[in-house]
Amino acid sequence: MNKRWLLALIILSSIVFLILYSNKFILAGQPAIESKEIIRVATTTSTYDSGLLQTLIPVFEDLYPEQVKVDVISVGTGQALALGRDGNADLLIVHARSLEDQFMEQGFGEKAYDLMSNQFVLVGPPSDPAQLSDAKSIADAFQRIAFTESVFISRGDESGTHVKELSLWELSNIKDLNKPWYLSIGQGMGATLQMASEKEAYTLADQATYLTSPYNLVVHYQGDLELLNPYGLILVQDSLQREWAERLINFMLGEEGQALIGSYGIDQYGQPLFIPQAKIR
């Protein structure tokens, strides 16, 4: 190899490179999207990982071929709300009602709706060290975990799940969680379930993530009213895509969207992961 060869190689690579770069959208599997409107939806990691939106959104996009693209960003609940506050997302799909109400009160949301719901489940190792099989209520279950000092993994990240979990400890009258058996890890539902599986510990999970996760955990308690997990849909006040965002909202709350939500998961998991529940707040 000599200098001229290298120079030719560099020039050739640069040309190829610039072509690739300017056509990066083609490489990404879709034509250049400058002409399409983009709607940004911020949602929680658990909602995203359930796969529901990946099913729902293409149906919506097909209603308006070549006109709109929906970008879904999955982050923690707090971050999703922050994206809404900063105006970096058009729609929010989260499940932390108290935080959502706060968001609306502070004027960051234009409109809020109930979208769907499912439930939280208390999962743990098959061996069930805390003897939850004859627990009478969720409060009873939480108390048994505390009294037997069984390891419990907490999301610890101010997510919808975490907020619910803390309210349940309060309901059970357990005040002091600063204990060696209570592990607050500040991570997503997947990571939390993974740790619970590894450490043979208990945790509170949303049903969708639990069903779609491959870990060695069983449901030890479910069904109480307190374990209801409602999902909210919020139109961000600051949104620059109000018209399109409202079309997406109407789709998700409409007959077709709600039917898709209600049937999602039946094939793969034997039961739907969400219950459609459209309502304006």
Partner: protein, 229 residues
Amino acid sequence: MDISLFSTLLEAKQDIFAIISLSFIVSSMAIFIGLIIGLPLGVGIGIFSFPGRRLCVALIYTMMGFPTVLIGLIVYMVLSRHGWLGELNLLFTPEAMIIAQSMLTTPIIMGLTFSAVYAKSQYIHDTTVSLGATRWQLMYTVLREARKGIWVGVATAFGRAISEVGAVILVGGNIVGSTRVLTTAIILETRKGHFDIALLLGFVLLLISFTVQLFFMFGMMDVFRSKGK
């Protein structure tokens, strides 16, 4: 690995190709920018003495070790709707990821270029100036002599850029089809518990990184220079 893994991969073939090419493009552009900014500055600071030079060097080395997730946070805040560069609408685009990765590569290239040049500069300076060289000729000579260290800088910067995940997921959003790269895809699959897919993606990342580093190694070992120089 079982058959179902491969069939899943074949279905995702289009996605995987997009993810791989985006990883490569984003990191390559970051290296390109890092060279444009970092190379001249690194050489200049390495050769020329000026007041505050030691402070500059200390700053460069600090930036080299700066926590990358913090860089991501800063870029997010700048590109956010109400941030300084909000009107550019760059958040959650590949361009934002390139910006974030450039902030990683530039200090590395600058620092390692400086280091390579500084080691040679005194010797070169004495030799060339005594032979009547101009400033530009001096810089060119130093660049040639320090080239191996510079290749090391580029190789290091590329390795850093292509393996970055925190900053990239923060400013890019890991959006399927537009801002998902290998590292953010690995995080997603890991989070979902699909460890086999995550490992496979990791292997692909390693393969790409290795191939590119091989090219840089040839540079380091003067494979690109004509014989007899």
